[in-house]
Subunit: 331 residues, 6 copies
């Protein structure tokens, strides 16, 4: 039976019987002293309020915060909003939980994205860099992480597969610009693009929910990326190939400098043309993704402006062609 996602619960009276994650829960009493559970249930498509009358404290305790529950009930309505009225609920067994149902997933196909990224990197000519990239492709576990990791917890491409999608998009832009600016060292630029956010596979957590790992918080993805580069260069050399230390330093520099400013956590400012180019293409790709996402998500289609946006430190303009004017947008 196909899963009923939160976003599919739209009609009062609709039957609910599926596994949901418990985003939050409260044990309360009515005025008359009866106990009930008020909770919020979610999956990767959204979140909904739920209520269970005549609950027991034992049941309440049995379902951990952020745990999973098999829920039976119906869609109800309260104060004009939908809610789930739970009739029965128990902790879900491990084999009943499909992790993928609870993590946001990107729109793309990681296998295809990876194939396109590989095709781009195949154009690299310097043998040392060729060997480095091959060594990366050969690491099955890391490639599995690369296909699965998000590019951020919230800022941009914040879903499974987002890291690969962002990396591919920057790589494609880099191919275009390295044609336009032939003085750029295309090989170095492309390996820099490939590696710039690779440390996010270790900085971010994406098994059960998006977040940060301990090493991610303590060390960060820039230095994690350098460490992963060091591992692969060692592997290249162990395999008997030559990898100039100067070339390694140039790649390390690109990874460390790609945030462009000290204030954004780069311990080095860009000092090569390829490092500047990577910084701008990465930044632009992240911003355009977030821009179109936030404009698309904005609650009120009748307004030309989003609400204040923390990443951009401004409201965003949705355009005038499809939307009526906002004469008094803040009123």
């Amino acid at each position: 039976m196909p899963r009923t996602y939160i976003e599919q619960l739209r009609t009062p009276g609709q039957i609910v019987e599926d596994v949901y994650q418990v985003a939050s829960k409260d044990f309360r009493t009515t005025k008359k002293g009866a106990y009930f559970i008020s909770a919020r249930l979610r999956d990767r498509t959204g979140e909904l309020r739920a209520i269970m009358w005549d609950a027991t404290e034992a049941l309440f305790a049995a379902i951990p915060q952020e745990g999973y529950a098999l829920v039976k009930g119906r869609v109800g309505e309260y104060g004009g909003e939908l809610q789930i009225v739970i009739e029965a609920m128990r902790p879900a067994r491990e084999n009943e939980v499909t992790a993928a149902d609870f993590l946001p997933v990107g729109p793309g196909d990681p296998e295809q994205d990876l194939a396109r990224l590989k095709a781009i990197l195949d154009e690299i000519e310097r043998p040392a860099l060729k060997a480095l990239v091959e060594t990366l492709w050969a690491d099955k576990e890391l490639i599995a992480d690369l296909k699965r990791a998000p590019a951020a917890e919230k800022l941009h491409h914040a879903y499974l597969g987002g890291l690969l999608e962002h990396t591919l998009s920057v790589a494609e832009a880099a191919v275009l610009l390295s044609r336009h600016y032939p003085k750029l060292d295309r090989d170095i630029l492309l390996v820099g693009v490939l590696w710039h956010d690779l440390g996010k596979t270790r900085e971010l957590a994406y098994e059960k929910a998006l977040g940060y790992t301990d090493p991610g918080r303590l060390v960060g993805h820039l230095v994690q990326g350098v460490r992963m580069l060091d591992e692969k260069i060692a592997a290249v050399r162990d395999a008997g190939a030559d990898f100039p230390e100067e070339l390694a330093d140039v790649l390390r520099h690109m990874i460390l400098a790609h945030h462009g400013q000290y204030a954004f956590g780069s311990p080095k400012l860009p000092m090569t043309a390829e490092a500047f180019t990577l910084h701008h293409l990465d930044n632009l790709d992240a911003k355009l993704h977030a821009f179109f996402r936030d404009v698309g998500r904005d609650a009120d289609p009748a307004r030309r402006w989003t609400s204040w946006n923390r990443m951009f430190e401004e409201r965003l303009y949705k355009g005038f062609e499809e939307v009526e004017p906002d004469e008094t947008a803040d009123a």
Copy 2:
């Protein structure tokens, strides 16, 4: 007779007879009381020390600072460096001075650059924007300025034709990226690129030497660009065509926001996807131009690093492949 440029004066004894600009001049006496003129002469290829023995104060006064002189003499040497030993000198007549000899000129051909820029803008589809661009091309005087103006006094593309070269380069990059990011409004992006620095034709001076005009200092090229846009939109409307005011505001916004931050003199932060894209492509083009220029100009080919660079707030790395390592670069 072809001109002898400063950069062609290389051999002691070489005859000098041409017009040069007087970059600076001093009237001095020798220990024994004789008067002499010490000066620096320049044209667009460089600058050289010059000395004229047995000068008179009248001659000294006759040649204004930053004026032009017809100089006769020979190349000499002093303290290991070349200098011009002036035998005779008089103020140059106006018809003897070819302004182009005294202004730095870019490597490109403005006519060709303009043709390529026009070809790109020809792809614009919205009638209002088409009409706007046509009105711009029709302004012969402004187009003459656009072909001649530098993009900056010093920072990047700081030579005649530099503004057009930079605008074309950003436009070409914008064409590439608008294919890669199809959600971008290509028409709006391209007109934004075309107009973003157009105000520099009025902000900068480039008749006799590169510098700033009074309105440039008081008003700046961002607001000058908006004023020029207003003039052309008025012309479009006067010609009977429709130009929506909302579209005008979006273009004004791109011009005003293209420096990306308040601290760089933008009175507005970018609020549209096209404004962000313009900001990044403009910035990257300027930086790459300056990077390759400064790396190319660096005095010491035996070093891997340039000296500290004010624009980048760092030394720049020239690469390791052609240059020996700098073990003690600051020693």
Copy 3:
């Protein structure tokens, strides 16, 4: 029948029958399943909670958010606070709504303020500036806007007539200081004062509620002010009078530089004595207005300090003479 303003609703039991704006509305159910509307009603004097029992969804839908409703009911009390208990309600007809009832209005008389401002500007001596000011007075539509516009959405003089009140106040201060500092060019200073915030007539919305217009957000009042100056200078010249371009640039500069710093959205720093003076007088007038307003509004007359003030980035001191000491103000 005179209107009953929100601030006049003070006694439980008082009859209510007037048009109010619906600031927010919610459709809810009681525990027992009955529907009710909870809303907030407002006019330019304040806002009050309102409740309507036994409501229907059709009625709820009929009254748009920020729309106007003719409300009948009585003043009630809930949890120690007054509320309106609505007995009947319907959308107000257009001719029942007096816009002025719903916008904050300043304490002054715009006609008088305008007369005083004109009297000050009458003292200007330079013919070009005289002509410019006359052209402004002659634009009936713009003068109507000037009399009506606020000086800000929230920061200072945030009510109808506020822009004129602020402009007049700065002009009066400028007259005083130009006597004290006779080296100041009084004519130029006064025209700068007159024009510095004129762009707010286009940046701000003040038909139905205070807010920003689209061109206000995209372009801002500084550049709008320059555009309006350009329009009027063109009119002066069209009328055959002379207006030196250098003088125009000096005025443009004052408008663009009057925020004093890049960080506050000025694309140019002040470079003339009059630009500095305008910046300081404008800033001081805005701050003093906000200071006395916020000190006056502060909820608790028993305290010597306001709560933390976002504009001033501090608490404000109300003075010690009328108020008891705050020994433990933050407890």
Copy 4:
């Protein structure tokens, strides 16, 4: 009868009969129109919700916000949390309120802390500084304040006795480091440590609750400290002893510069070795105190990270040895 502190109220049904401070209070009605008081009661050990059914407005008015009430009732439970169900309540008489019950108190013994601090200062050798310190000890009122004052309202050592505890801790660290760095002038460093936060005895309020005094907000503890230094130096000189003005300036400088940066309210940057040392030791002591307090207080012992910490502008890491890993800490 010993007091029952808030933190001792743990069991539903437990009898409550003691004086508590009213942190906040609301007068509400039930759906059926009955009045009740909802309040929060506190003492120095914590705060708890309380409810009194069938209350009258007169009783509500009789007990001032932040006043004290003698409360009788029982511990109840509401929505899974404890609350006090008040059966009777009246304003407490002045002699029933023990101020110390309502202020947070530090873990140390001020008498012992003072003795240790005196022992350290006894080592000072310069007669002028010896005389200065003796004059301080002799001021009974000030010493009483020093033993009682907190070091901050919230940031660190925010409890009675905290100022002395912090001062002693920095003094002990200074003794250690002045051995390690023998070029430091130990006498001057120690008097600087003693005096650096002495102005907090006047800047902060700590009679009834922690907060700021009016002079504290208007003048601050740095300048208050200099004023207190001036008073004591005058006393030393009045007693016939010599106190070089240069030495006084060096001490004033240390007090004024100890925040280390203009942005933190120091009107002078450190210019002596002792001023730098004081700045670093003071800062480190405050941060370590806050670090261990905030890590200790963190609600969830199962997590390795605290929530975002405003003082440190980061989350704090509690360590990996006692705590399970946080794979998805933000989920």
Copy 5:
């Protein structure tokens, strides 16, 4: 015999016989081994190069750097510039040196300035403030310093009498604005103006040359001003008059906050209306003084712009009416 000032030495051959300060001195040898002294001599009107042939080391040593010498010689010329050719020189005796000849002096008359300032302060009404001001006038030594001190070493009013001139100018502006803003407490504002820079009498040195004192560098004029206020308030109280401590705190606050920002060394941000007003009037007066001085001093009357100005972080615009346009100002 009236003094011959440096600025009066204009003609080669003119006889020199007067006392000058030795700004710098060098003992050199000619190619042929003869010794000579090269020096720069100055008084308060300027500085000139001087040369003394056939000097001895003993003579060289006898005249200390920054000491005074009685010089006999003639005006000569070297390399187009005037210089003094010294024929004889000896250290000046103390009674031959008139300090006033060597310190820059303001254009005003301190006695008149003081009288005008007193007249303004005479309008104060509150008895406590009246008494405070009287106590200040009664301190002959301090008033002597006030009449003599500069307002800054370099920034503005940097000459003897400058502090008083600046204080008077701000006071006059404050009188005007307190009429315009009647909510301002005129008494408090005027005493704040009087006292805001009074600490400069101790922060700056102005006996022999303008500079900083040790207490000036270590403590600064803000805190020195508070200390001087404390001394005078104590004197008022000692004389039996009442001076409310709250009023003292408000004055201290104005002094400490008058730089307006932490970054400019204010340990407190302005929190009263009078403190804001003082900050803006002080800042404007200093800037206008520096603006007109720097525009007036600019070397090249043919240019419309000064060179880059460190205080204003920009070039200053001298105006277009008297000056030709600068088309290429930086060339």
Copy 6:
């Protein structure tokens, strides 16, 4: 024969015959056309002007800039300063150059410093950290670098042995403070201290002169330190010992965060108590070293203040006890 160092050349007439480094050189002509070499010679104790009459261009070319020359001549005097009058000079042979003569050397004994550092680290108790430190001591090459490297090119401890001296000093301070703050994890703090600047052995160049290496500029000592930590942890694990990855992350964090702020190149802010402590002790040690060095080096013993100091962004106060007051220090 013992070397004659530059600082030993003090008497005109003294014979010079030794190897010096050529800091700079110029080939010049006298008025009469004779050639001479003007140069500056240096060793690690200082630098002196030198002149060689009757030089040939061949000799000039034979001695490279920053190369070494065997110089014969005598001490002379010119314009009151000593100089070397070179009689003969030839390029030095490689075996004539003792590198140590040309690099600044610290005051300490690296062997003793290392022994003291080892003794401190011997106290570590956790087996994993013990094994890590042992692995470091076993790396002879790295320990040789540690004993030789400076702590900075210029800022502090800028001489051979400086890195070890600084590391030891911070370690000793850390031992003291970990007694004072027993909640600190002493083992972790000490390993953090040991490793915090270890990357400087690779970031800095110190073979021939102090400077930066290419990897130093591109990657920096923070990330180099993490890479060296990774190498040693791998060695520990290869040797069969256990090293928890969490512990490794905590150490990596301390290295990366020890600059304390993003603006100073730390990609992570301190998040552990030990990371804060390391940051403050490191910073204080560097500042105290620089403070006493710069105060000691200051040219003029008669002044109480150094000239403006770039590192401290202020003048430093040398103290009043040995020095006369500076009344007009800037005059």
